[in-house]
């Protein structure tokens, strides 16, 4: 049957027959890099138009509907516009840091792609601490934001960057604790192990109510971590003009923009992997017929379907809720999410020890 893993294996076989091992490794690395960049470009285009359409329909508007069929080429036109704009560096800015920051943001997003399983046995790097790796690397994102805010030499940028720092540091905790709930259940940090442990049911169904609470906490925390509304204090158009990317223009701005969307994709992919079974099809207990039909849908479609569903949920949040104030934001994390997810983790641990899950 046609699948991503077959293509990857055939390519690897052909390359190792043609070239020596070192050359094979280098070519495969380059191919993986090109594939990731290609995925980034595609994701940027798709997610921007998706965001604009979702926001328009939620606010009883039409959204972009002029460029291409039903406005579907709007994001392509916008990208073209950003490409021809001048990438200005302000006079008072720290030139090196200012120009480095967007690339740091992109590199972090690229690194995060490594442990994500896009389809059955199709993964760049199945390292044994995959989940830990993701939560560790995603915290580096704040460095690029701080860098951009500091180097811009602009009060709005600096304020946005500082807020973003406080926000990411605090929300990283409850995101980590809700990830831990799944890790406790699975007993492994490896992404492929976590996915295979959900072959007989996704964790959100197998783990009863504590897992649902962990899932909700995770979604709230990653919304905050990716600096999206209702937690977009780092940008906060009405207070800080555009926060940390006030001074950026042209393609450097576009890189920040792209990094935000890629980060949303990545956290949703992680959420889908941990709680919704990654590329695992939807199975119901003993319904053999139903399960067979579900198996016929390719694993990549399952993965992208779940991920895009979660992305839709995060966009839904963005266009429904008003922005939180900084004290409300920190209250929500330290007084509500953190205690709840700690108690939740305790219950999940008890469940794992007593084998109360299915």
């Amino acid at each position: 049957m046609w699948s991503f893993s077959n293509i990857a294996n055939n390519l690897h076989k052909w390359l190792s027959e043609t070239f020596n091992p070192t050359m094979t490794l280098i070519i495969e690395m380059v191919l993986a890099g090109v594939a990731v960049i290609g995925l980034f470009a595609a994701l940027g285009l798709v997610l921007v138009i998706m965001e604009r359409k979702v926001s328009a329909w939620m606010q009883i508007r039409l959204g972009p509907n002029r460029v291409g069929p039903k406005g579907m080429l709007q994001s392509l036109a916008d990208t073209l516009k950003l490409l021809v704009k001048e990438g200005l560096t302000p006079n008072g800015a720290d030139k090196l840091l200012f120009n480095l920051a967007p690339f740091v943001a992109m590199i972090v997003a690229m690194l995060l792609m490594a442990p994500i399983a896009f389809a059955k046995d199709f993964q760049l790097w199945d390292l044994n601490i995959g989940v830990l790796y993701v939560s560790a690397i995603s915290s580096i994102m704040v460095i690029s934001i701080l860098m951009a805010g500091w180097a811009s030499n602009n009060k709005y940028s600096l304020m946005g960057a500082m807020r973003s720092g406080a926000q990411i540091v605090s929300y990283e905790l409850s995101a980590g604790l809700s990830i831990l709930a799944v890790v406790v259940m699975t007993g492994s940090l490896q992404v492929s192990d976590i996915i295979y442990s959900q072959a007989d049911g996704w964790w959100i169904f197998k783990g009863h109510i504590p897992m649902v609470i962990a899932f909700v906490t995770f979604i709230i925390a990653v919304t905050a971590e990716t600096n999206r509304a209702p937690f977009d204090l780092a940008e906060a158009e009405s207070e800080l003009t555009a926060g940390f990317h006030t001074e950026y223009s042209g393609m450097k701005f576009a890189l920040f923009f792209l990094a935000e969307y890629v980060n949303v994709f990545i956290v949703c992919a992680i959420g889908a992997t941990l709680f919704l079974g990654g590329w695992m099809p939807f199975h119901i207990g003993n319904w053999t017929q139903f399960n067979h039909v579900m198996d016929y849908i390719p694993s990549s479609i399952w993965f992208f379907g779940k991920t895009f569903f979660l992305i839709f949920v995060i966009m839904w949040f963005r266009w429904t809720f008003p922005r939180l104030r900084i004290d409300q934001l920190l209250n929500l994390e330290w007084k509500y999410l953190l205690p709840i997810s700690m108690i939740n983790l305790l219950i999940v641990t008890a469940m794992a020890i007593l084998k109360w899950h299915f």
Binding site: V54, W57, M58, Q59, I60, R61, L62, W316, F317, W319, T320, F321, Y336, I340
Partner: protein, 158 residues
């Protein structure tokens, strides 16, 4: 007690958020609710709200008669000098001199569509029209004379 208040707060917060999400999901799935007017594509079928204010006009009847007595209430009410009333003397059939308007000059380029002149008018001589495509190449065209040439005041309007 503290813990019951805490749980109640969480419950209330989640509930109110879900109410909001239900509303936006309803709008997301019901595209008939969309209120965007696709002007100028729908210029022929465009329906403006009843109270839309485009410009000040003076309605005339079929005998070229208007209701303006020249009382200057609109000129006084206008906050930015948009309306100027210019008078002429007219002879009544009895041979008496009577003051009447010669021109009611209206500067569209100064008007903010505040509706104060229409409210000030004691004889309902002026009203707001719904036309809104006012762009012209020469700004002199924006200075309009509201009464038609040769128009008279309507019988019985004092």
């Amino acid at each position: 007690m503290f813990i019951t208040k805490y749980i109640k707060d969480v419950y209330k917060g989640v509930r109110s958020l879900l109410v909001g999400m239900k509303r936006t999901l309803y709008y997301f799935t019901h595209h008939k609710e969309i209120i965007t007017q696709q002007y100028p594509d729908n210029r022929d079928t465009l329906v403006l709200p009843e109270r839309f204010k485009g410009e000040v006009v003076m309605p005339h009847n079929e005998n070229n008669e208007h209701r303006c007595t020249g009382c200057q209430a609109c000129e006084l009410a206008c906050p930015n000098g948009t309306i100027k009333v210019i008078f002429k003397n007219e002879l009544t059939p009895e041979g008496k001199k009577k003051k009447a308007i010669d021109k009611l000059v209206y500067h569209l380029e100064l008007c903010t569509m505040c509706n104060l002149c229409v409210e000030a008018c004691p004889s309902d001589a002026i009203k707001m029209a719904q036309t809104f495509e006012h762009s012209v190449f020469d700004r002199n065209e924006l200075t309009k004379i509201l009464n038609n040439p040769g128009s008279k005041i309507m019988e019985g309007v004092e």
